[in-house]
């Protein structure tokens, strides 16, 4: 079908039914991912990145979780599929990797056994073929002498190696969508660089769509083609990656970018800060959710919720005053340089 996305999430709302009442962790999320592209999902902890991913995979406990909206994967709505069909899709068509590889690796089986098992579950191949495939996948993720490594247990290898094994396992069935939830957050920068390279290479090789979840805007700049910035359960800005860094429109995105210490330029200035803290989901502000921390907030912001509005070139922003704010900042820039 022309114009069909690999994944299209429409107006997703994920509600947890807890003892303290219901909590809407993701509220009105819309996004799409195409083949061969990497969508970054960024935001501070608790903003709903993992819940979004878990909703797409339908990993949450459905006795206490309510999904609303649509999650169209290759045109079919995952939210209306029976669990049995979801089992086929998970790990086969959509794969997920996590921050801590140990959560998806079983400590009592060798690395080889686990990958072979995954391949056998999803593909009609012989055990010998599965074994060869497993070695091939490990090799693709850059693991030296995979024939030897395949006999080792997860605890016998380093964190970086485990992350590679998890990637090898996740990609062994050649999924068309990979969801990576903070895959390098626990790793050191030199190892992170290796892992990001591996994900990028395999994305090209398999022409996968990737959702890269991270709180690190550096990682976003490094690997993403498009970015959605989340705040308190909503996307507040979405844009091609260059626009986010050169022409961000939302005061929250701008604030985040300015708060990060840089490795170049003047380092003796005070860091910019976004005042206050993220409110609790039990106490969501009326109007714009960012208003209590926003220096541009006015009466309209405090009473009416802005919608995610498309500006141009696929750039979307959820702010009443983004145009005015842009003009004001231009003026400030001009006076600063003149």
């Amino acid at each position: 079908m022309v114009g069909e996305h690999l994944l299209e999430v429409k107006n997703l709302k994920t509600t947890f039914l807890t003892e303290m009442g219901s909590v809407v962790a993701v509220d009105g999320m819309s996004l799409h991912v195409d083949y061969g592209e990497t969508l970054g999902l960024v935001g501070e902890s608790g903003c709903g990145k993992s819940v979004t991913a878990e909703s797409i995979m339908r990993l949450l406990d459905e006795r206490t979780t309510k999904y609303e909206g649509e999650i169209l994967f290759k045109g079919q709505d995952l939210l209306s599929l029976p669990e049995k069909k979801m089992v086929d899709i998970r790990g086969n068509e959509i794969a997920m990797i996590f921050q801590d590889a140990m959560t998806s690796l079983n400590p009592v089986y060798t690395i080889g056994n686990q990958i072979v098992e995954t391949i056998l579950t999803h593909q009609k191949v012989s055990k010998k073929e599965a074994y060869e495939k497993a070695i091939e996948m490990l090799r693709l993720t850059g693991i030296p002498s995979p024939e030897k490594r395949i006999l080792e247990y997860p605890h016998e290898i380093s964190g970086g190696m485990r992350q590679r094994v998890m990637i090898a396992m996740a990609l062994s069935c050649k999924p068309s969508l990979l969801i990576a939830d903070e895959p390098t957050t626990a790793l050191d920068v030199t190892i992170q660089a290796q892992i990001l390279d591996v994900i990028n290479e395999l994305k090209k090789e398999l022409n996968m769509g990737v959702i890269m979840i991270t709180h690190d805007l550096g990682v976003v700049a490094e690997v993403c083609t498009r970015v959605a910035v989340m705040y308190l359960g909503q996307v507040i800005e979405e844009a091609p990656v260059d626009n986010i860094f050169t022409n961000s429109l939302h005061p929250y995105t701008k604030g985040l970018l300015k708060s990060i210490p840089k490795i170049e330029g003047d380092r003796n200035k005070k860091l910019y800060t976004i005042e206050g803290i993220v409110p609790s989901l039990h106490n969501i502000p009326k109007g714009c959710r960012f208003a209590p921390r926003c220096s541009f907030a006015d009466e309209q912001c405090r009473t009416q919720s802005p919608v995610l509005k498309e500006t141009d070139g696929g750039h979307k922003v959820r702010c009443w005053h983004y145009e005015k704010i842009g003009q004001m900042e231009e003026k400030i820039d001009v006076t600063a340089t003149s």
Partner: protein, 332 residues
């Protein structure tokens, strides 16, 4: 020269408040029968000076020995060899009673203040108590000071009677800092103090630490794996790899002119939050070797892109290139 720079220059002339010399720390690995089988060579060769009112940053990847360095200075773990000269005395030879006094002056701030704040105590009491232990002031004075410090670190006074769990991670870090300040220290050893915080909270706490340094005339040993944060806050930086301080220089010098191949790789691996900046990345092969059996010669030789024969056999010694820029590498 701006006034700020001039002051900094003047400070450089002043004597260091803390000198760490040839620090070594081996952790014994014991067999189930209590025999020592082997050693984790956590810190092998670390030397640096901490100047009054200045910050030295220690960077390097996990397991390179940063925390061990910080902890041995305070003898939270006993050093194997070396010296830590504080105000003219070697901390490693002090008796426990004298060491207790030093612990008042050198305070530690951790990544997760949650584990170091007593969950059963109200935050005001926690701060007051640390003054009491060190016999500072009478009760009324202590309460007043605790109130002041909370306010100063950004916690409202009416939260004095709340418990640690009622605060967010960033607020708990502020409380931990207030407690450390309570006993009039002159040195802070900060071990990954902002690593667990989100960006918007991290910048608030970094700014606070910088203000407090000026106000209370503190010297910081700032340990972090985050090079951008370390660059922002430090006057000098030491880079560690597998227990060795492989390079040390003033912050600007280190970033403009990194010499050690490991430092170069580390700097080139930092993902920059700006798509306009494109750099040549040096991707290191493999993992950090085990500190139980570190490589011969230069400990970095197994991953070094520029390795030569000599590196495998001989341990490089420090060379000073320009003023104060030290590097341990055979290429120089």
């Amino acid at each position: 020269m701006s006034q700020q720079q001039a002051e900094k220059e003047a400070r450089k002339q002043s004597a260091p408040i803390l000198q760490v010399k040839n620090l070594k720390k081996y952790y014994p690995i014991t067999s189930p029968f209590g025999k020592t089988k082997d050693f984790v060579k956590a810190v092998e060769q670390v030397t640096f000076d901490l100047t009054e009112k200045e910050t030295i940053g220690l960077v390097g990847e996990s397991g390179c020995g940063k925390s061990t360095t910080g902890r041995t200075i305070l003898r939270l773990t006993e050093p194997t060899e070396g010296a830590a000269i504080y105000k003219g005395r070697d901390l490693f030879t002090l008796k426990p009673k004298e060491m207790k006094k030093v612990r008042k002056e050198i305070q530690m701030v951790f990544q997760d203040p949650h584990s170091s704040l007593n969950p059963k105590k109200r935050i005001g009491e926690i701060i007051e108590e640390s003054m009491k232990i060190h016999r500072i002031g009478n009760k009324a004075e202590r309460i007043e000071k605790a109130m002041y410090l909370l306010r100063r670190t950004g916690i409202r006074e009416d939260q004095y009677y709340k418990f640690p769990h009622e605060f967010s991670g960033g607020q708990r870090q502020r409380i931990g800092i207030a407690r450390a300040l309570a006993v009039n220290p002159s040195v802070f050893i900060l071990d990954e103090p902002v690593s667990a915080l989100d960006v918007s909270i991290q910048s608030q706490v970094i700014n606070l630490l910088e203000e407090l340094q000026d106000e209370f005339k503190l010297a910081y040993l700032f340990i972090s794996h985050d090079l951008s944060v370390v660059r922002h806050i430090s006057d000098q930086i030491g880079v560690m790899y597998l227990g060795h301080l492989v390079e040390k220089a003033s912050t600007d010098e280190l970033f403009e002119n990194p010499l050690h191949p490991y430092t170069k790789a580390l700097l080139s691996s930092i993902p920059i939050p700006d798509t306009r900046v494109r750099r040549e990345r040096i991707i290191l092969k493999g993992d950090v070797p085990s500190p139980i059996n570190p490589p011969s010669g230069c400990v970095f030789h197994t991953r070094c892109p520029f390795v030569i024969e000599k590196c495998k056999k001989e341990k490089p010694i420090y060379k000073e290139s320009t003023n104060g820029h030290l590097v341990a590498c055979h290429l120089y």
